[in-house]
């Protein structure tokens, strides 16, 4: 992956690192792998991903 340090790239990295782009990635994945199946809304996807994230050990001492 040859990446130059343009503002656009940096912004993309920040979004990816914080999970800001999680829904877009889900939509992309959905379109590629499961076209035609029902798609979660932005709010439903967010709530589901938080519930999943916090049902295991995700934070430490």
């Amino acid at each position: 992956m040859s990446q130059h340090m343009s503002m656009r790239n940096i912004w993309r990295w920040i979004r990816a690192a914080t999970g800001d782009d999680a829904y877009e990635r889900y939509v992309e994945h959905h379109a590629a792998k499961h076209p035609g199946e029902p798609l979660l809304t932005r709010a439903a996807f967010y709530e589901e991903s938080q519930r999943r994230k916090w049902s295991g050990v995700t934070r430490c001492c």
């Binding site: 690192a17 889900y26 709010a43 934070r59 430490c60 001492c61």
Partner: protein, 684 residues
């Protein structure tokens, strides 16, 4: 390229060796903190460059051509192949909690050297190795948890021990962290109002992320961080208004009550409302503050004022009892070896790792960075005047509640401090008093405030101090929320075996009861810690350290067993040596806590000593009132230590049993590794 890397290795070795010599042998003159940072960074880079590469190649046979669970089960949700630096960031944010800040601060009572050396050596030879190994083993097993791996590879007993061990550690951990927050807020309206304000701010951010702008993490976090910073500043205004001031001035017992009720609410409310948004805030603050602290340390490059070793290595320390061996290794768990990391390394991270080749950076690298955070914490504690450090961190039960008595005792130890000096310091920090603020948070905040103050402006010392307190409190409360929730799931799982409906994680009565039981568990230890005139930390922190190191021993047992079963017994020392060391220190520490006749060290000795004093009527009335509870608690802690010791030795023996069977060619549980599948991802 290879030549360049080798030259780099040689340069690092020389610089590292010089720095280590500086801090270890120049005992007569004060040492600059930069030498410590340099030594640590060189040690981590060398460990990463050589030891982790060797382990990856020889011991774990890391194979970048093998598809990871993220690739095989890619579902766009929890299994997502992710770039290695992003995985690194997530994993670091997950493992780095308040532990590496508190432990080194307390261990500074032995001087700067024992803690510093253990943080470096423990990390590169133990903690980083554990994290990387468990991460790879879990990645090879579809992201299975430590408990599941223990059950699959060793047997049902190993799995059960890991589950019980985790649950109990969680309870002790939350109690001790709760105590740190309570002690930081006690009679400090500024700190209390700021910490309280983080709750409505988190809820606001939660509503923003769920209702108004779903999933816009960046916008919401920026908004939340701005509000939290405003809360720090406005805490100062509250503090300067006599009426508002009184509204936020609480003693420890009601504050503990608030924390207990808060913990229960956080565990039963939907995660999006309080837990998740608080975590976004704390992650941003944590990463930002750690980076700022590193920059400020480089700018300030302070001299270390604490001696390399104090007289307290003989076991007479005022913060907690026990000699430097084994107690420095118990006090500093997080930052050197932390068993808890094995749970994170076998949780979310293995599900997003794109290539096995990334486990070095993510597993070994993240832990090395956390270890550096611990180094910064020990620097922040040891750059204070030792007299000030002891005045802040020693409980009133040891040096006396009156400032005159306290400074007299501490000066008598050879660490001069005056009442005027403490008063001026408290005034600078915007507090009424800094005497006997046990728990590590206030002294770390004073250290951080002086680092930030001298690098970025001295006029704002009180703001920096309360920023540091808020920063610690925010992510302590995140760990408290998340831990209570995980504890609840574990308890529901256990109770589900007794009565089916209790095992349904979303059945509301089960949620309420299991959460209440977990909160009652840690709430009890928190309450006892709060009423203990010696500060409570002196009892709870060693118990937590022993428990956390024992969880690491369980994780290393699982790793060693798997390495032997994979036919690599000649390399088993890589995890077996840290395991042997942890078994030695935790067993020694536990043994001393159980059998020592010194009431400052032994649980049962302390209980008996207090019982005799109570019976003879020599206790002052306020101490006599709480004595029965303290006596019961010391005995309970003793029984708990015995239980931990038994669990860890059963797991070690179980691992040895399985390994010996394997080496003799007898049948053992077959490997639970997922079959090899070639990766189709192009390397990034």
């Amino acid at each position: 390229m290879e030549l360049l890397k080798n030259i780099l290795g040689i340069v690092l070795s020389i610089v590292g060796a010089c720095a280590l010599t500086m801090i270890a042998f120049h005992r007569d003159e004060p040492v600059n903190a930069l030498w410590i940072v340099t030594a640590a960074v060189c040690v981590y880079l060398l460990g990463y460059r050589f030891y982790s590469a060797w382990i990856a190649a020889k011991v774990l046979s890391v194979d970048a051509s093998r598809a990871t669970p993220a690739e095989r089960h890619d579902n766009g949700r929890d299994f997502v192949p992710t770039h290695r630096w992003i995985v690194f960031g997530h994993h670091f944010a997950a493992i780095a909690g308040p532990g590496p800040l508190v432990g080194p601060t307390l261990a500074a009572q032995f001087g700067y050297l024992p803690g510093t050396l253990w943080i470096m050596a423990g990390a590169v030879l133990g903690g980083c190795v554990q994290d990387m190994t468990i991460l790879l083993l879990s990645t090879r097993r579809d992201g299975r948890s430590l408990g599941q791996m223990a059950r699959d590879e060793l047997g049902p007993f190993g799995g059960f021990a890991a589950l019980i061990g985790t649950l109990l550690i969680m309870i002790i951990l939350i109690a001790v962290l709760g105590l740190v927050v309570v002690n930081a807020m006690k009679h400090s309206p500024w700190a209390t109002s700021t910490v309280f304000a983080t709750v409505p701010i988190a809820i606001l951010v939660g509503l923003y992320l769920r209702r108004w702008r779903p999933g816009r993490v960046l916008e919401a976090s920026v908004l939340g961080v701005a509000l939290v910073l405003f809360a720090v500043v406005s805490g100062g205004w509250i503090d300067s208004s006599p009426t508002l001031r009184a509204a936020f001035d609480f003693s420890a017992v009601p504050l503990a009550g608030f924390v207990i009720v808060y913990g229960w609410l956080a565990a039963i409310l939907p995660v999006w409302l309080l837990l998740a948004p608080r975590d976004y805030l704390s992650t941003f603050l944590k990463l930002g503050t750690v980076a700022a602290l590193a920059v400020a340390l480089l700018l300030m490059h302070p001299m270390i004022k604490m001696p390399a070793m104090t007289q307290f290595i003989d076991g007479s320390g005022p913060l907690f009892g026990g000699k430097v061996f084994p107690f420095v290794f118990i006090t500093i768990a997080c930052g050197a070896v932390s068993g808890f990391h094995a749970l994170v390394s076998s949780g979310t991270t293995p599900k997003i790792i794109a290539s096995e080749g990334d486990v070095r950076l993510v597993g070994y690298g993240s832990m090395a960075l956390e270890s550096l955070v611990a180094i910064m914490a020990i620097i922040a504690a040891t750059l204070l005047d030792p007299g000030v450090y002891f005045a802040i961190n020693t409980g009133a039960g040891i040096v006396g509640a009156a400032p005159d008595a306290a400074v007299h005792t501490i000066t008598g130890w050879g660490f001069p401090v005056t009442v005027e000096q403490m008063k001026a310091l408290a005034n600078d920090m915007g507090e009424t008093s800094l005497f006997a603020r046990t728990g590590g948070a206030p002294s770390l905040a004073v250290g951080m405030a002086s680092i930030f103050g001298s690098s970025f402006g001295r006029g704002l010392l009180s703001i920096w101090y309360h920023f540091a307190i808020m920063f610690e409190a925010v992510f302590i409360l995140t760990t408290l929320d998340a831990g209570t929730r995980v504890g609840r799931f574990m308890l529901q799982d256990l109770l589900g075996n007794l009565w089916k409906p209790m095992g349904r994680t979303s059945w509301y009565p089960s949620v309420l009861i299991a959460s209440a039981l977990v909160v009652a568990g840690w709430g009890y230890f928190l309450y006892i810690g709060v009423i203990d005139p010696n500060g409570g930390i002196n009892i709870l922190w060693p118990l937590f350290g022993i428990a956390n190191q024992m969880l690491a021993a369980i994780a290393l047992c699982v790793a060693t067993g798997i390495i032997i079963k994979s036919g690599k017994v000649r390399y088993a020392w890589v995890t077996a040596l840290p395991l042997a060391w942890l078994a030695l220190i935790t067993s020694t520490a536990a043994w001393q806590k159980l059998t020592s006749a010194d009431p400052k060290l032994g649980f049962f000795a302390a209980a008996n000593d207090l019982a005799v004093k109570l019976a003879n009527g020599v206790l002052p009335p306020e101490k006599a009132a709480v004595a029965p509870q303290l006596i019961f608690n010391q005995r309970l802690d003793g029984w708990l230590t015995m239980f931990f010791l038994a669990v860890v030795w059963f797991v070690i023996l179980d691992m040895l049993r399985v390994s010996i069977r394997f080496l003799r060619g007898r049948p053992v549980a077959s490997s639970s590794e997922a079959p090899y599948q070639v990766s189709r991802l192009t390397s990034t």
